[in-house]
């Protein structure tokens, strides 16, 4: 680059000759030089901006092109990568606690028709009606010859039926692959599993959605492909569940009951090992729900969870346990049982007259309403409500079934003293058998709250403390006495030291107002073995009547207790419990508290 001198000698000299200021020439040159520098700098900056802009345009074009490519092309799985986390599109299986299948999927086909493609629609309709007797041939004929372009003929067909349809040989009859839900054990655990049906349907595939039970509660989980096909593991044991249902069905028939329910629950973890409700249904062909009448008459009704009943004398132990824990009474304290007891215009009676006084233990053993009412009077309504609240008697159970939140126990809106008295022996409050099982488990396991669950738990979580350990021992001892010498004497199973409490409650009339004289709900809530409780069993029969004697017997001691005893006799060995000789009360140091 040539630099122009600021003061060129020739111009300076000529300027001096003309008498001009030579400094003006220098200033002019400096100005020109600066202008040139400025122009150069601007050009350079413009060039840089251009390059930067071009780079940005290139980057955005690349990103945009890639996005467009991704959006426009069919998605493809990366094939070159090895086996990563498996993604399984199938609905997950449901298994019992030992991994035996309760629900799985089976590949099958659906049958649909495209009448425009049909060669001989009339013959096809006739042949289809022969293969599927439940289809109406005339209706099919009408559909096939009409202007319809597409219609479903059958949602699920077996391979044999598919072969027969193939043999019709009509090109308008087409098959679509389907995945159907299969419950290989039939009606076993039907109420817990619920059932499944097709959601959105297409020709190539259909969505399987749960309609009830765990299938509905865990619908999202079961359909989540990210689980990699891991099964949903329930706390049920298939063998035990089947045995319980078998024995309960026999018991229900023998006792001429309309319905029955049984719940077998782990005392410490709250895991439901078996839960049966009869009558039941086959979830493979789930019946339609009743549109009118009492929903509890439907086999779909889960009595164990949805059946909110007055459970009668089984509630007595709650009042007694609370009084023992508060230190108001001791097992040998004498309580007035002179009847009938009057409270205003109300009269409380006992089944028999038990004399003027009974010990607290005998109040439970003989199931005295009057004695329990006197104890409840000492506790008072406020403390009683608090205790029942803590036992979970006022809220729906937390069990993971879609039906559970709907089964809210019925409690009186107001709580005058007469309610305190009646609730103490289980009248005027209604709860489900599952509530009762959870409450008995809470009392028996050492006094900590148990939350029932249908899922397998790995370790027991200790809940909030409801009663002290010592009270729990006393309660267990009282319940044991009920079986040894009280109302549940048929409940004795040698080797398993059954403890429990019977309850017989008159059924309230559905029309409202009063109770039936000859319809009862007989319940037996038991724990075994009494000295080291492992399981809680609640058996409840709906309208049982035992007719072997001269007059019909309806009390739980004659109906529910023998059934429960048979269930324990059959299931305890399967649960791995060895028969044990009960330790004598004197042999060990007993925890006693005043």
């Amino acid at each position: 680059m040539t630099r122009i001198p600021l003061r060129p000698l020739a111009r300076i000299l000529s300027a001096r000759e003309k008498g001009e200021n030579p400094d003006a020439i220098e200033r002019e040159n400096i100005r020109l030089r600066h202008e040139a520098m400025r122009d150069r700098a601007r050009l350079r900056a413009e060039g840089r901006l251009l390059i930067l802009g071009a780079a940005f345009v290139a980057a955005f074009v690349t990103v945009g092109a890639q996005m467009g490519l991704l959006a426009a092309t069919e998605p493809a799985e990366p094939q070159a990568t090895g086996m990563g986390a498996a993604i399984v599109a199938q609905r997950a299986d449901i298994t019992d606690r030992q991994g035996r299948i309760l629900a799985t999927n089976l590949v099958t086909h659906s049958l649909y028709a495209q009448p425009p493609l049909m060669v001989d629609p009339v013959r096809a309709a006739e042949e289809l009606a022969l293969i599927f007797p439940d289809l109406d041939g005339e209706r099919l004929k009408k559909d096939f010859t009409s202007k319809r372009k597409f219609l479903w003929v059958k949602k699920k067909i077996s391979p044999e039926q598919m072969q027969l349809v193939h043999e019709i040989g009509d090109p308008g009859l087409l098959f679509g692959p389907r995945e159907m839900r299969l419950y290989p054990n039939g009606a076993i655990a039907a109420h817990i599993l619920g059932g499944a049906s097709f959601g959105r349907e297409g020709v190539r595939s259909a969505e399987v959605v749960g309609t009830a039970g765990v299938e509905k509660t865990f619908d999202g989980w079961l359909r989540d492909p990210a689980n990699g096909g891991a099964p949903l593991r329930l706390s049920l044991d298939l063998t035990i569940q089947s045995t319980v249902e078998d024995v309960l069905y026999g018991g229900m028939r023998l006792m001429n009951a309309k319905g029955a329910t049984a719940i077998l629950m782990d005392v410490k973890t709250g895991e439901i090992t078996a839960m049966a409700s009869l009558p039941d249904f086959d979830p493979n062909t789930r019946p339609a729900p009743l549109t009118k009448g009492d929903p509890s008459d439907s086999p779909l009704f889960n009595r164990a969870v949805q059946g909110v009943y007055e459970l009668g004398s089984t509630f007595k132990i709650f009042a007694v346990a609370q009084a023992l824990d508060l230190g108001l009474v001791r097992p040998e304290t004498m309580v007035e049982t002179k009847g009938p007891m009057f409270w205003g215009k109300f009269k409380i009676r006992d089944f028999h007259n038990y004399g003027p006084q009974l010990s607290v233990t005998d109040v439970i053993v003989k199931s005295s309403n009057i004695g329990t009412a006197h104890i409840a009077q000492q506790i008072g309504g406020v403390r009683q409500q608090e205790f029942l609240q803590k036992l979970g008697m006022f809220d729906p159970t937390a069990v993971e079934l879609v039906e559970a939140p709907g089964a809210k126990p019925l409690r009186p809106a107001k709580w005058p003293e007469i309610t305190t008295l009646t609730v103490s022996y289980g009248h005027g409050i209604a709860a489900s058998p599952l509530h009762l099982a959870a409450a008995y488990a809470s009392l028996a396991n050492g006094g900590t709250r148990v939350t029932p669950t249908i899922l397998k738990r790995d370790k027991a979580e200790t809940g909030a403390r409801l009663i002290s350990e010592a009270t729990s021992v006393q309660v267990r001892d009282m319940l044991r006495q009920v079986v040894v010498r009280g109302t549940a004497s048929f409940g004795e199973v040698p080797g398993y030291a059954v403890a429990g409490k019977t309850g017989t409650a008159d059924k309230p009339k559905r029309t409202g107002g009063g109770y039936y004289k000859d319809k009862v709900i007989a319940t037996f809530a038991s724990i075994f073995p009494a000295h080291d409780p492992k399981y809680v069993l609640v058996v409840s029969l709906d309208e049982p009547v035992e007719t072997s004697g001269t007059e019909p017997r309806r009390t739980a001691g004659w109906t529910a207790v023998p059934v429960a005893a048979e269930i324990i006799r059959r299931t305890a060995p399967l649960l791995g419990l060895r028969p044990e000789v009960e330790p004598l009360a004197d042999a060990a140091v007993t925890l006693v508290r005043n």
């Binding site: 094939q79 070159a80 199938q90 035996r100 299948i101 799985t104 999927n105 089976l106 590949v107 299969l182 290989p184 054990n185 039939g186 076993i188 298939l238 063998t239 089947s242 045995t243 078998d246 199973v493 040698p494 080797g495 398993y496 006799r569 059959r570 305890a572 060995p573 399967l574 060895r578 028969p579």
Partner: protein
């Protein structure tokens, strides 16, 4: 010198091109094999599911109970009962097999050391 360099470069390019060609086809063959394997795994998983379902169906408690009833004369199977639990003490010791006597032993002489 320069022509030798050019020839060597040309040879190297040809060699690399041949290698790339072969690798390309090998990769495509491997991908095809993986695809086949994956579809085979899918089919096998499906049939495993069917077999599992069939196993569960054949082992359903109702059927087993019926089978036990049908073959009762032969098998004599009954529900498990509490009394079927036993203690270790109830198991008889196996009989100790005594060695057969081959030589008569003079017991009178042993009497002093082995009374």
């Amino acid at each position: 010198m320069r022509s030798l360099f050019l020839v060597l470069t040309a040879l190297a390019v040809m060699g690399l091109a041949f290698w790339a060609y072969r690798e390309n086809y090998r990769t495509q063959a491997e991908l095809a094999a993986v695809r086949n394997l994956q579809s085979e795994i899918g089919v096998l998983k499906e049939s495993l599911g069917v077999l599992n379902a069939e196993w569960a169906y054949l082992n359903r408690p109702d059927r087993l109970r019926e089978l036990a009833d049908i073959s009762f004369p032969r098998l004599g199977l009954l529900p498990l009962e509490p009394r079927q639990f036993g203690g270790v003490a109830q198991i008889g010791y196996p009989e100790i097999e005594l060695p057969s006597i081959t030589f008569p032993v003079d017991t009178i002489a042993l009497g002093e050391t082995n009374p």
